[in-house]
């Protein structure tokens, strides 16, 4: 079994080649199903691997071939199959499969249909490389590859210039983070002499906590994670990335790629555990991002933007979990988030599809009757993200919050605030979309139809998973759920290093849960009152806003601040360098050298008369000179 795991990433690559090389030849129907079938094959294999590991098989490093070999440097191309990567593989292929099938319906009739599936398969391939890689190097290939696919898919509708700009923004911001990741990799190599997880972690586990070089490494790696997972300060690309097709937003910018940062930190758990400084940085950044993004999400009116900020906020929550040492909890939330956020995005996709591209929630409303299935699905997603038991989000969120509480109650309170805001904005979305009366103007309300079955069924499956998927996992108790048990081999060493304080007593934990639950219900009730009972509709873009609300509506001016602080000075500097330094100094030097040669040449070339007789003469004179020189030497 283990010796054929390389087939798992190979199938999507094959799909990419089939669809990508035959973009104009292959029929539209085939390419979508072929792409989906490839993911299905990968999914089946991933499931087999997972079952094998769940059955007690040990983790395994599979060395495929020596990749880079030069002197002491030896980087093999290897896969690491352990519980962590297995879970990620399941998420990627599972959610990926459903979204692929959904896309067949969603992208129907698009002229770039085949291209779309080629890119999607390529993305799955790179994402699998990222999580299956047995060394930072292989992870880095995947890391860059998913960045590329993200770029390609954000700018998928490249006729629109805005989309291209969004794609470029995402790419450049990721690049900044990638630089940190790359530097971190270099430092790992100089410190441990290898990039393979097995060697690095084995060598790291004997170091004493607080080693400065580990702190630098982990901070650099975290810089990469902030880029990929859209954390402060590199968060602004993700809302813009919503320019891509909705399945892309669901798969790449909610379920899988943006969680690569979480995965990376969880994978390097030993390194992070050794550096308390980095842990607190991760905590702070995660929490701040979660709060900030949640506040912004409260005031957005674009359905996909709200979900995008929600994603950022939830990712912040996961980083909070990682920062307080709840690695398994963060992975749990990653898993449930992959389901419910993909679900929400796909449901939003159905709505947008039905409304012919309308994304503004102020122009929706009363869609419950028109889209009954979507209504039900979206409600499931909203309840899950709000953390209402027994929906999956409840358990995973609770695990993070409990870990935060055992670290510091302040963290817990902040986490609760984030959760309150989360349930508020998601239900605001819900009420505004499905209840009340239809406010749209561009489309007749009678023309609104439920999406095709091809789109509804995958979403329904996701809904079932996000609603009930977590229940079997937590039968043994929330703190010691099956997932944590399963992941235990990966985080065992770390737990030893962190020496986590005594776990919360069952009583405290239950009390916390109940408090959380009460707050959630309260928050949903408030949104119910505001947006359902009073049918309050957010004001138009031009209307006056005051102070804080205005700031939050305008996304706290983060883009504008970056524009002023970074983009303008940099472009000013480049302008200066171009006009003053380059044109005036370097170009002149280079050109004057050229001119010197030209003018010298135009004089010297007169010697070359082209007259053969003259040349003969010159030859004789030169021979004489050589002889004379030899004579009097």
């Amino acid at each position: 079994m283990m010796n054929i795991v390389w087939l798992i990433p190979l199938f999507p690559l094959l799909g990419f080649l089939i669809a990508g090389l035959n973009v104009r030849r292959i029929s539209v129907v085939i390419s979508g199903w072929v792409a989906s079938a490839m993911i299905l094959l990968s999914f089946i294999l991933s499931l087999l691997v997972f079952l094998k590991l769940a059955g007690g098989a040990p983790s395994e490093t599979i060395r495929l071939f020596d990749w880079i070999k030069s002197g002491d440097l030896n980087i093999p191309f290897e896969f690491l199959i352990d519980p962590l990567s297995s879970i990620m593989m399941l998420i990627i292929t599972g959610v990926g499969l459903l979204i692929h099938i959904y896309s067949i319906g969603y992208m129907h009739g698009d002229e770039g249909f085949n291209k779309f599936f080629a890119y999607m398969n390529l993305f799955i391939f790179f994402m699998l490389l990222l999580v299956m890689g047995g060394s930072y190097m292989v992870m880095f290939i995947g890391w860059e590859g998913v960045g590329l696919c993200s770029y390609l898919l954000i700018g998928f509708w490249n006729r629109n210039h805005e989309n291209n700009n969004a794609a470029k923004k995402a790419f450049i911001m990721n690049r900044i983070g990638d630089l940190g990741f790359l530097l971190g990799m270099f430092l790992i190599f100089t410190t441990f002499g290898s990039l393979s997880y097995s060697i690095v972690f084995a060598k790291a586990s004997v170091l004493s906590p607080g080693t400065i070089v580990i702190t630098i490494i982990t901070l650099l790696l975290f810089a990469g994670a902030t880029g990929k997972s859209a954390q402060i300060p590199l968060l602004t690309w993700l809302p813009d990335a919503m320019a891509g097709p909705t399945p892309v937003s669901a798969l790449i910018h909610a379920a899988t790629m943006v969680t690569a940062g979480i995965y990376m930190v969880a994978r390097s758990n030993i390194l992070y555990a050794l550096s308390p400084v980095s842990m607190s940085v991760v905590t702070t950044v995660g929490l701040t991002t979660a709060l900030l993004a949640a506040v912004i999400a409260l005031f957005q009116n674009d359905i996909k933007k709200v979900l995008a900020y929600s994603t950022i906020s939830q990712l912040g929550l996961m980083f909070l979990g990682l920062g307080v040492g709840a690695f398994a909890g963060a992975m749990f939330h990653l898993l449930t988030h992959a389901f419910f956020k993909a679900l929400l995005f796909l449901a939003a996709g159905v709505i947008i599809h039905a409304l012919d591209g309308e994304q503004d929630i102020r122009k929706m409303g009363g869609l419950q009757k028109k889209l009954p299935w979507t209504y039900f699905i979206f409600l499931t997603g909203a309840l899950t993200i709000s953390g209402i038991p027994p929906f999956a989000g409840f358990f995973s969120k609770d695990e993070i919050l409990a870990a935060a509480f055992s670290k510091s109650p302040v963290l817990w309170i902040s986490g609760i605030i984030v959760s309150i805001m989360t349930s508020f904005y998601i239900f605001r979305l819900f009420w505004l979309t499905f209840k009340g009366s239809f406010r749209g103007t561009s489309i007749n309300s009678n023309d609104i139809h439920e999406g095709p079955r091809l789109m509804i069924i995958p979403v329904l499956i996701l809904a079932i998973f996000s609603a009930l998927g977590a229940v079997p996992l937590v039968l043994n108790g929330i703190e010691n759920n099956s997932l944590a048990e399963f992941l235990n081999p990966v985080f065992k060493t770390t737990a030893g290093i962190l020496q986590k304080g005594s776990a919360l007593s069952t009583g405290t934990n239950s009390a916390l849960m109940i408090i959380t639950f009460i707050f959630m219900v309260l928050s949903i009730y408030i949104s119910y009152v505001v947006f359902f009972k009073r049918e309050k509709v957010p004001a138009g873009d031009a209307s006056q806003r005051m102070g804080f609300i205005k700031a939050a509506y305008n996304k706290f001016y983060i883009d504008e601040i970056y524009e002023t602080l970074i983009v303008k000075p940099v472009s000013g500097l480049s302008g200066f360098l171009q006009n003053k330094i380059d044109f005036k100094i370097f170009d002149r030097i280079v050109e004057s050298i050229g001119r010197l040669v030209m003018s010298a040449g135009s004089k010297i070339r007169l010697l070359q008369t082209g007259n053969v007789g003259f040349y003969l003469f010159a030859i004789v004179i030169c021979i004489i000179m050589v002889l004379v020189f030899n004579l009097f030497k």
Partner: protein, 166 residues
């Protein structure tokens, strides 16, 4: 004493013929004087007892190469003295340069200190038999390579002489 006179005779003949090559107005006369010069040099070879080289010189130079020259002259119909002379200034400079070269080479060879035994035994190395033996034993490879050289020269000539598409 006959040898001495013969040496002077051939020397003067060679120099005279060479000068006449340059002085003749018509190319065909130049060719004929050149043949004369070659024959004079072949006479020198015989005086030096280098019979093989003498025969080859007559065959290759006075025979084959001269035929080539004559053929070209006739082919291009150059028999009329159409040649424009170079200006006198250039002629004088050329003669001065040539004279300079002569002085330099003579000066250079004068410095050499060559002593020969004037009563040495007359050698037979110039005989066809001796040279043939050496040529086919010690100099096999250059001999074969020169065959290839001829082949390539022939190919080149044919290529050049072929009428191009114009």
């Amino acid at each position: 004493m006959l040898t001495k006179y013969l040496f002077y005779f051939f020397s003067i003949l060679a120099i005279f013929a060479s000068v006449m090559v340059l002085m003749s107005k018509k190319p065909i006369h130049s060719v004929l004087y050149l043949t004369l010069a070659f024959l004079a040099i072949a006479g020198h070879f015989i005086l030096l007892n280098a019979q093989f080289i003498a025969i080859v010189n007559v065959i290759v130079y006075a025979g084959a190469i001269m035929v080539l020259f004559l053929f070209t002259v006739m082919l291009l119909n150059l028999n009329i003295a159409i040649e424009h002379q170079k200006s006198n200034l250039i002629k004088i400079t050329a003669v001065i340069a040539a004279g300079l070269l002569f002085v330099t080479i003579t000066g250079a060879t004068k410095k050499l200190d060559i002593v020969y035994n004037h009563n040495q035994v007359v050698t037979q190395i110039g005989m066809v038999k001796n040279l043939g033996k050496i040529l086919f034993s010690d100099f096999r490879l250059p001999f074969e390579v020169s065959g290839i050289l001829f082949l390539s020269a022939m190919v080149g000539t044919v290529m050049l002489g072929k009428k191009t598409g114009d």
